[in-house]
């Protein structure tokens, strides 16, 4: 088995604005099972960061425990990382973001880490609208402990051993919309054309960007009867829209069919260009987003693409009205008010 990736790259590999190639955004060679959907998601993150010309040292990746949470080793090898306690990634991310709000935060989690042990943490980080990209690599099973059904396994889905899952599944995307996540999308590891622009848009969204990515577990949950297998997902996938993320305000060149094309402005002037495939759906309307999800579920479809976005809501730093400079960069002179001011403050309480 190879543990090192050869150092040679294609001599004509494209360069981004910083003069970097994909190589500068890669991590070490994956030790996940061959064919794991998580590796595709890692590759999509690498591609998105490359295309956005992010400085790797301005990114932090934080994860919990599980196959998904191992992946930060396999992408962005030149970025910051913290592999935390099972289900506690949101706390660590919150702390890190409080200390330095200038970084791009990738929270990487799985269905066990988010929908079971970490559910309590997930719901609160959504409420707080922490400015981060939260990716759930959702394979519907506990791959690291031999493939037991997880909380996101669909009712009726058959495991590799042949047993049928009797329980209701937690629909993470619906849950996130319900709890007030300001950016919610769903995608499939095997569809990078959709996933890469979604990650790029999520990185630009100021607030909590939730990406539920179905990522087949080739070892334990890719069997006939499973609703998270490559074949099942490909057969039942239904996209809300095709989407382009445009980092800067462009001249409008292409004209879309009337009523089907939507542009969503992000807080920093960037733009999401949507070509809608679903008709009764408006990505800026929570009710229609929830409806679209429910409709898809009734039809046994997996709805992917951007589901909901709200650029108005303040993120956690906005709500707390924190200082414009990251806290970790404040010097003693800025933090310590001095004896006179302190006395004045104290006097105010007397």
């Amino acid at each position: 088995m190879s543990y090192l990736k050869p150092l040679f790259r294609h001599p004509k590999l494209p360069k981004n604005k910083l003069g970097y190639t994909l190589k500068e955004y890669e991590g070490s060679l994956s030790t996940l099972c061959a064919g794991c959907g998580h590796d595709s998601i890692s590759a999509a993150i690498v591609q998105a960061c490359f295309e956005m010309s992010v400085e790797p040292h301005n990114v932090a990746k934080i994860s919990g425990i599980g196959c998904s949470s191992k992946t930060p080793t396999y992408f962005l090898g030149n970025s910051h990382g913290f592999n935390s306690v099972h289900g506690r990634m949101p706390s660590v991310a919150t702390g890190a973001s409080m200390a330095n709000k200038d970084l791009v935060y990738f929270g990487v989690s799985g269905d066990g880490d988010s929908a079971s042990i970490g559910m309590g943490q997930l719901v609160h980080v959504i409420r707080r609208n922490l400015n981060m990209v939260y990716i759930v690599m959702n394979n519907g099973c506990y791959g690291l402990t031999k493939g037991q059904d997880s909380a996101t396994a669909d009712q009726g889905s058959k495991s590799k051993a042949g047993s049928i899952n009797p329980f209701q599944a937690i629909d993470l995307a619906s849950l996130a919309i319900e709890l007030g996540a300001s950016f919610v999308a769903q995608s499939f590891s095997g569809d990078k054309q959709q996933l890469v622009p979604l990650i790029k848009a999520a990185m630009h969204h100021k607030g909590f960007a939730f990406l539920n990515v179905i990522s087949p577990c080739v070892t334990f949950n890719n069997n006939p009867g499973s609703t998270k297998s490559y074949d099942y997902v490909r057969e039942h996938i239904e996209a809300t829209s095709t989407l382009d993320f445009i980092p800067e305000m462009p001249e409008i060149k292409a004209s879309y069919e009337k009523g089907k094309s939507t542009k969503i402005a992000m807080h920093d002037g960037s733009l999401i260009q949507l070509n809608k495939l679903e008709t009764d759906w408006d990505p800026e309307d929570r009710i229609s987003a929830v409806n679209a999800l429910q409709m898809a579920r009734a039809k046994n479809e997996i709805l992917t693409g951007l589901l909901y976005v709200n650029s108005e809501w303040k993120d956690l730093h906005g709500v707390l009205n924190t200082y414009h400079k990251p806290l970790n960069r404040l010097k003693e002179s800025e933090l310590c008010p001095g004896v006179e001011n302190l006395n004045a403050i104290n006097a105010g309480f007397r």
Binding site: P6, L7, F8
Partner: protein, 601 residues
């Protein structure tokens, strides 16, 4: 694009760039792996089976394989393929017992080989084990042809040559040395079933019309004749000031030999610019290293003779001018003509074929340039019994080409003697076998070393210039050779794709370090090449296109910079990718029973 037909042996053969570029198609990565495993004897035999003269070629080959090496496209310098071949030859054990063992059961057929160079010797080797009675004629005292007469001993020690020539002659070849064949008619009258002509290009070009040529004749020599005289020890010295005319490898051999026979101020004067000289870059380097001056852009005007003694030559200075098609013209400059002092001049401006001994009324056609009309596939002349090969067939090339042509001519001779159609040639020997040993284990070393090319050490100049026979290159020592072998990318271990197994998880595409693999909608080749992760702009490299996959897409792999690291196959959950070693052995008259003999160490 249509799915690639990998059943055609030429597809995978072409992926092995070095082997494909080699005229004899020696399985290079195969023997490099054997060298890495310290199996020098086996490595030698892989070579011997294919190119007949591993020891000679490991020192003197023109190495068309090296510029073709994939390493050139991935980093810069090719694997030192040629010098690794020498490592196998230098460190081998007993190889003779692995070669076909005579006496062979006679098949009642008799063939004559005219000329004892690499082409004829190859024919002899291929036909003898089939029971042919082989008669070989050569005017020299021993076999080897130009390998003996033209390649100086400081590049190719005589023992090495003798050893490899004798492996063949010892197979029961009837040799008639010191015999100049004066008449093909006479040979044909002697009831041979077929005749092979491998007489090379024995005539060195002269400058007969240049003023002073006649007057200075005593001091002016034809390069290849002079080299032969040195090799057979008729010439033992040269004057101090020498001019060598010409820019090819013979010129390099002449100037370097001159330095060893007493030449102190040796100058190579050549018409073309330095960078466009025909000599191999490494031979030019070696000449410069031996304090030889190379003067380019000078066209000879006259030999200057005073009192019956050569005093030097006059040259006109020129500059290269290129037209729109890149065609070069050498135009005179305004600068005055140049006089260069010299006591002796060696003319090494090319060589020609010469067939004064072939009667023109035998039904053997010659073309307007005096070359025999020879079929490019069968090497048969217009006289059905007479075959040509080596430099004699299509003009001067090199040893490895002569060997390659010898193999093919031998196939034709055999088919001819059996009364079969010469155009229905047996298929090459091929084998494609999985290298999988475990879930993620391969039976080849798939790591990719980033080492730069290692240089071959040379003996001290003070020693080599003193002794004509002292070999300059010392060859790799074993530890360095090992490191150099690790630079080989194992291009013969093919990435074999089975579309029916693919679940399109993208794992291979994500992991491929050189972005070779793309899953995309099918299209015309030109469009497809642009649609890949990195556009496939090297048109000399093929695309591997799969059958249609479940989603309607196809897998397209650009073979250009594939490292053959096996990561695609390691990350493939369904073994849709497999690493399979492809062995390709050119069609030969006598295919060794196990083309690659394996013996225990």
């Amino acid at each position: 694009m249509k799915p690639t037909n990998t059943k055609n042996p030429e597809y995978y053969h072409k992926v092995v760039d070095c082997q494909y570029a080699c005229p004899a198609h020696t399985p290079v990565p195969e023997y490099i792996r054997l060298i890495a495993a310290e199996k020098y004897t086996e490595a030698y035999m892989v070579n011997w089976e294919s190119n007949v003269f591993p020891g000679v070629l490991g020192r003197t080959c023109d190495r068309p394989c090296e510029p073709a090496c994939r390493r050139v496209r991935v980093e810069e310098e090719p694997v030192a393929i040629c010098r690794l071949k020498r490592v196998a030859a230098d460190n081998k054990g007993d190889v003779k017992t692995l070669m076909p063992q005579g006496p062979f059961q006679p098949n009642g057929k008799k063939v004559a080989l005219i000329g004892g160079g690499p082409a004829s010797l190859t024919v002899a080797r291929d036909l003898a084990p089939l029971g042919y009675e082989v008669h070989l004629f050569d005017e020299q005292v021993a076999g080897g042809g130009m390998m003996r007469s033209q390649i100086p001993s400081f590049r190719l020690p005589e023992e090495v040559l003798n050893e490899e020539v004798n492996y063949i002659l010892d197979m029961g070849i009837h040799t008639q040395f010191l015999t100049y064949v004066k008449s093909l008619k006479e040979v044909l009258s002697q009831k041979y079933d077929a005749v092979f002509v491998g007489t090379g290009a024995p005539k060195g070009r002269d400058l007969p019309k240049l003023p002073g040529r006649k007057e200075g004749d005593k001091f002016i020599h034809i390069g290849i004749e002079w080299l032969a005289n040195v090799a057979f020890e008729h010439t033992k010295s040269i004057s101090e000031k020498v001019i060598v005319l010409g820019g090819g490898n013979t010129a390099m051999d002449c100037c370097r030999t001159s330095r060893r026979l007493g030449g102190k101020e040796v100058k190579v004067v050549v018409r073309s610019p330095f960078d466009e000289m025909k000599a191999s870059p490494w031979e030019k380097e070696d000449a410069l290293h031996e304090d030889i001056q190379i003067i380019d852009n000078h066209v000879p005007l006259s030999f200057e003779v005073e009192n019956g003694k050569l005093i030097g030559m006059k040259f006109q200075k020129v500059k290269p001018v290129y037209d729109a098609n890149g065609k070069r013209q050498l135009l005179p400059t305004d600068e005055p003509d140049v006089f260069i002092e010299a006591d002796e001049v060696l003319i090494a401006i090319g060589q020609e074929n010469s067939f004064p001994w072939i009667e023109r009324d035998l039904g053997l056609e010659f073309d307007q340039w005096g070359m025999p009309v020879v079929d490019e596939l069968t090497y048969q002349s217009t006289h059905p019994k007479v075959f040509f090969g080596g430099d004699a067939a299509f003009g001067p090339k090199n040893v490895i080409t002569a060997v390659a042509q010898g193999h093919q001519a031998a196939v034709s001779l055999h088919l001819f003697c059996e009364g079969k159609d010469l155009r229905e040639r047996p298929s090459p020997f091929t084998n494609l076998i999985s290298q999988k040993m475990g879930i993620h284990e391969w039976s080849y070393d798939n790591g990719v070393a980033i080492d730069q090319r290692y240089a071959v050490p040379q003996a001290e100049k003070t020693l080599t210039l003193r002794d004509r026979k002292k070999e300059v290159e010392l060859g790799f020592d074993v530890p360095t050779a090992f490191k150099e072998t690790q630079r080989c990318l194992n291009c013969d271990v093919q990435t074999v794709f089975t579309a029916e197994r693919c679940i399109e998880c993208d794992a291979c595409m994500d992991v491929c370090p050189t972005s070779c693999i793309t899953f995309t909608a099918n299209d015309e080749e030109s469009e497809l090449r642009q649609k890949l992760l990195v556009p496939a702009e090297n048109l000399s490299q093929d695309l591997l296109v799969s059958n249609e996959l479940k989603t309607g897409r196809v897998m397209v792999k650009d073979e250009d910079v594939c490292l053959h690291c096996g990561l695609c196959a390691e990350r493939c959950p369904t073994s849709a990718w497999d690493m399979q070693k492809f062995l390709y052995s050119v069609t030969k008259a006598y295919q060794m029973p196990a083309p690659l003999p394996q013996i225990q160490k």
